[in-house]
């Protein structure tokens, strides 16, 4: 029973982190209409930025988290301006093909650049809060609590931003119809950049939060990237609240799957395959996802 509690707490924390990554994927998808195959690498970049800001500049971990979000937000906007503008031009043919190859190539580029710049060895940044908490038999490290709580704050911040502010409303308008949004005076180009930047910043926050719990490596983004697709497909392309529910469900499912499989070494490696398998089944049965919004589909 204790083991069950510990595993489900860990699962919830990982689930929140996944949801944070997936919320970015979904935001970018609903505005730019592309699947960002480089999202896991922005997550990796966020983790490393936070580590180096902390160790080289001596900024405390919380400040490093904020700085890494700001940096990766800027990187996201630069990427969008340099590489993704053909997506809005009428002269570009087969935009989804362009989106897939460019973001897939970007992922390859970022991963190998990280391998050269940061080195192949795993790095472990310092904790946000050292120590651990006991609740009866349940023992949780402060880092996990911090990651979970900060993740939730960011997710609710995003939800508030989307529903409660004029910019969020404008983003929603662009996602529903680019032309109608332009007619009511929304500059769609600016909101494309904003969406990609915010998505990248959320991924960076996830990377910075997870770094003290696991560790940093250039290929740390590969599996979370695929897990975020699982969540986005389950939660429905374009639905931020759907991906939060799906994220926590996936985190729990994986943690409990790992905990209660009879063969522990297999359970650990198959727990990643488990989510991916769910993804394949959902795609076969309902290609728009379970909570999908109908207007947010690929053209």
């Amino acid at each position: 029973m204790d083991y069950f509690l510990i595993q489900s707490t860990n699962g919830a924390v990982i689930g929140i982190i996944y949801a944070l990554i997936a919320a970015g994927v979904t935001l970018i998808f609903s505005i730019l209409k592309i699947v960002n195959f480089a999202h896991g690498d922005l997550y990796m970049l966020g983790g490393y930025t936070s580590y180096y800001v902390n160790s080289l500049l001596g900024v405390p971990p919380l400040g490093a988290l904020v700085l890494s979000m700001v940096t990766v937000f800027a990187v996201g906007i630069i990427i969008e301006r340099l590489l993704l503008t053909p997506l809005y031009s009428d002269r570009t043919e087969r935009k989804d093909e362009y989106g897939i190859i460019v973001t897939f190539g970007l992922a390859f580029f970022l991963r190998n650049a990280a391998l050269n710049v940061f080195g192949p060895f795993a790095l472990k940044p310092p904790s946000f809060l050292t120590g651990l908490q006991r609740f009866g038999a349940l023992v949780v490290t402060n880092d996990r609590i911090f990651a979970g709580v900060t993740g939730l704050v960011l997710i609710f911040g995003l939800l508030y931003f989307m529903k409660g502010t004029i910019w969020g409303q404008a983003l929603d308008a662009v996602s529903q119809s680019r032309d109608s949004a332009a007619i009511v005076g929304i500059n769609a180009r600016r909101f494309n950049s904003l969406a990609y930047g915010v998505g990248a910043a959320l991924a960076a926050a996830a990377g910075a939060l997870i770094a003290p719990i696991f560790s940093l490596s250039p290929d740390m983004g590969v599996l979370p990237n695929i897990q975020s697709y699982v969540i986005v497909i389950l939660g429905g392309m374009g639905s931020v609240s759907g991906s939060i529910i799906a994220g926590i469900l996936l985190g729990e499912a994986q943690a409990l799957f790992t905990a209660f499989m009879p063969d522990p070494t297999r359970a650990l490696s198959y727990s990643n395959a488990f989510g991916v398998f769910v993804l394949m089944v959902v795609l076969m049965v309902r290609p728009t996802g379970i909570f999908g919004r109908r207007h947010v589909r690929m053209e």
Partner: protein, 329 residues
């Protein structure tokens, strides 16, 4: 077929076959690996460039084919060619099945689905290490003795590449190739014009997966050791880089991309791991500014040289326009 390009390619091939005798083992090895990639890029180009099906699971099929062949030979001691054929046949079936499952998926959904498929295959092969030896590597029987020269492997790889190119070329220059292109441009319009969209999407997947398996089995029985990283995302990215840099909409340019990248990779050995960063950058620049690929203009020039007689005989500009139209498509 167009006259001059075919003649030039044949001449180049003969030249390569003669020239290879003077090369040392190292460069022969590079050439063999380039041809291995050539089979992969040409078949991926058939799938992604012609039919518009962005599968990221191409290397998964190569690794399934390779493991099938290696394990069948280990368990039942069947001859190597039979094992290779078995691997290829299995991948054709599996490819057809994946093609059938993906019928309702378009663009990015298909890419995500095949990415998921390829990760499951890789995770399974590395976890079930009692059977596949996992990341330690499965020892395979090589086709020829590796003690002596690598020349037999070179000739075999050459024959396999030439055979694959002939077959893929036959497909893309037939009506089937037109159907595949029609499906890529507009699936509904193609269906309305009487193209059996479902049948040709499945067919494209089956054929391309078969060729991926051919490359994979050859690799397994050449290198002599097989690890799950044959089906990794990084290798898939290398195939995408090669195909896109060369030009994914034509088979010859896709193969040219494989050769160019593979030889550059050896030539720039001093730069170590930075090479992959450079190739990633080239890929991004190619997509952004020259989406038809870097080898495509050269190839079109070559094709144009092949048609002067027709130009002098009649309409002076017609073939030129046709060539440009092809590049835009």
């Amino acid at each position: 077929m167009r006259g001059l390009p075919a003649a030039v390619l044949a001449a180049l091939a003969v030249l390569a076959l003669v020239f290879v005798r003077g090369l040392n083992d190292y460069w022969i090895h590079v050439a063999i690996i380039a041809m291995f990639y050539g089979i992969l890029t040409s078949s991926w180009s058939l799938l992604a460039g012609y039919a518009g099906l962005f599968s990221l699971g191409h290397m998964a099929f190569a690794s399934i084919g390779a493991y099938t062949s290696a394990l069948l030979i280990q368990w039942y001691h069947i001859p190597i060619p039979l094992g290779m054929v078995a691997g290829i046949a299995l991948c054709c079936l599996l490819g057809a099945w994946i093609g059938w499952v993906c019928l309702r998926m378009s663009g990015p959904y298909l890419a995500i689905f095949t990415l998921a498929f390829s990760e499951i295959v890789r995770i399974t092969f590395s976890t079930e290490d009692e059977v596949t030896a996992g990341m330690a590597g499965l020892h395979t029987v090589t086709l020829f003795s590796t003690q002596a020269s690598r020349l037999p492997f070179f000739y075999l790889a050459f024959a396999l590449l030439a055979g694959s190119l002939a077959l893929i070329g036959l497909i893309v220059h037939s009506r089937w190739g037109l159907f595949l292109r029609a499906i890529r441009e507009d699936e509904q319009a193609a269906a309305a014009s009487g193209v059996a969209v479902a049948r040709f999407r499945i067919l494209a997947f089956a054929v391309a997966s078969g060729f991926a398996a051919l490359a994979g089995t050859f690799y397994a029985h050449y290198i002599g050791i097989l690890t799950p990283s044959l089906g990794s995302l990084d290798l898939m990215a290398v195939v995408v880089v090669m195909t896109v840099i060369g030009g994914m909409e034509r088979i010859p340019t896709a193969v040219g991309g494989a050769f160019a990248v593979e030889f550059l990779q050896e030539y720039l050995r001093a730069y170590g791991e930075w090479r992959l960063v450079i190739f990633g950058l080239i890929l991004l620049l190619t997509m952004r500014f020259a989406r038809n690929g870097l080898i495509t203009p050269l190839w079109l020039q070559l094709v144009r040289f092949g048609e002067p007689r027709r130009v002098s005989a009649g309409a002076p500009t017609a073939p030129r326009e046709a060539g440009q139209e092809g590049s835009g498509g």
